[in-house]
């Protein structure tokens, strides 16, 4: 008698719960942990994209890589959060190539510094009426920097709203 019930129960249990079932709970936990990490960092998708671009520029100095295929993601490493960067390398650059890039960069840097120094000198020389000149100089020198900060601010503003509305959903 008991066997019949057992058999029936097994069949029922088998019907309602297939053996190899996906562990939905684990999936939910992992997805949630990841999304919370991103929420807590205050990095918007736009900022992440920007970070990706900057990393590509930096790393391209040393290796030739597939720009499109570079992946930047958050991942769980035990209890802590990790920023995972996967870089598909096409070709290693040889020493001379790398050195040339570094030299060029350093030259550009020193030029920039010289320009800044000159700007400061002018400022010191003509204190009363130099405002326009020095400003023009500074603008020239810091043009790139300013553009960058503006861009960041814009991005932050732009993503404020969609982010919030996402959360409300």
């Amino acid at each position: 008698m008991i066997e019949i019930f057992n058999d029936l129960y097994k069949k029922l249990a088998g019907f309602f719960r297939p053996e190899e079932k996906e562990n939905v709970k684990e999936v939910a936990c992992n997805r949630l942990k990841l999304v919370l990490m991103q929420d807590r960092t205050n990095l918007t998708p736009q900022l992440l994209e920007r970070m990706r671009g900057e990393l590509i520029d930096l790393l391209s100095k040393y290796v030739e890589m597939d720009r499109e295929a570079l992946e930047l993601n958050f991942a769980q490493e035990g209890d802590s959060m990790a920023l995972m960067l996967s870089i598909p390398v096409l070709r290693a650059k040889d020493e001379a190539e790398i050195q040339a890039i570094i030299d060029a960069e350093e030259e550009a840097k020193s030029k920039e510094q010289n320009a800044k120094g000159e700007a400061e000198e002018i400022e010191e020389d003509f204190v009363p009426e130099d405002e326009e000149i020095s400003e023009a100089y500074e603008e020239e020198v810091e043009e790139t920097d300013e553009d960058l900060t503006e861009e960041i601010e814009e991005e932050v503003c732009a993503c404020g709203t969609p982010e919030e509305s996402e959360e409300e959903e």
Partner: protein
């Protein structure tokens, strides 16, 4: 007497803030505490319905701040428990009709002759939320074991931590479904607590009785037999500083569950042998 001001909040809507407010308020009042429930969901008031007081409201919180009546006149006494009062929200206005300072003033005034002020917060993180937390020193964050609710709770915790006046906050996990947790289809209590790293104040099982009790306008804590009611009563005890064990939700309750457990026990023995 200086009462404690506790805000019930969640971020996400529909997780049970108002139900929780009504039940905690009623349970505290039943334990002999003087309690005022404040509905700050202006424009979308519902706390009156859950308490069955919708026909007794004459003045609302907006009438108080716009000085059309005294604070005492706007407090509606509960049908059963004279220790419990409701300060209702206005239905025909919006959140901007109330400011943080005004709500804080009302809370400070009510603190003088009540043990507990329970503030029912609207969903969202905008002005309504900022208003609701302005008078509080404690918070209870209501969430369910669902991803969206937990994510929103995390955001609320961040906002509460940034607010100096909030001295402590605890988590209330609502609508827990033990059978879904056992089959690994839902996040467990431990999972949620772990993810949010927040102290628990209560675990409320999913209970169809909550729907019927809402329909009747009577909080489920008044139903002695209900499991959810018991869980809410335990929350009230913990608020008052008692140490109460959490209800074991994995214990089989219904006849079907018990039969199932019996057979799965047999099955287990057979498999081991």
């Amino acid at each position: 007497m200086t009462g404690r001001v506790i805000v019930i909040t969640s971020g996400k809507g529909g997780v049970g803030k108002t139900t929780t407010s009504a039940n905690i308020g009623t349970a505290l009042a039943k334990a002999g505490q003087k309690v005022v429930l404040i509905d700050t969901d202006i424009g979308l008031r519902n706390l009156d319905l859950l308490l069955g007081l919708e026909n007794r409201i004459v003045y609302t919180i907006i009438d108080v701040v716009e000085e059309r009546c005294k604070l005492k006149q706007a407090l509606v006494k509960d049908k059963k428990n004279p220790n419990l009062c409701l300060l209702a929200a206005a239905q025909t206005r919006d959140k901007s009709a109330l400011s943080q300072e005004q709500l804080k003033e009302i809370c400070d005034e009510l603190k003088k002759d009540n043990d507990f002020i329970i503030v029912d917060c609207p969903a969202g993180i905008e002005q309504g939320f900022q208003n609701a937390i302005s008078g509080a020193t404690e918070a209870i964050i209501v969430t369910t074991p669902e991803m969206s609710a937990v994510r929103d709770a995390d955001r609320i915790i961040g906002l509460l931590e940034a607010k100096e006046e909030i001295e402590s906050y605890r988590l209330l996990l609502n609508r827990v479904r033990p059978n879904l947790i056992q089959s690994n289809d839902m996040m467990s209590v431990e999972d949620v607590v772990d993810i949010l790293s927040c102290t628990l104040i209560g675990i409320i099982p999913e209970d169809t009785g909550v729907i019927t009790s809402t329909n009747k306008g009577e909080p489920i804590v008044n139903d002695e037999k209900s499991l959810a009611g018991k869980a809410y009563q335990n929350v009230a005890k913990r608020i008052m500083g008692e140490e109460v064990d959490f209800i074991d939700l994995n214990e089989p309750r219904g006849i079907v569950e018990k039969v199932k457990k019996f057979f799965s026990g047999l099955l287990g023995k057979e498999q081991r042998a």
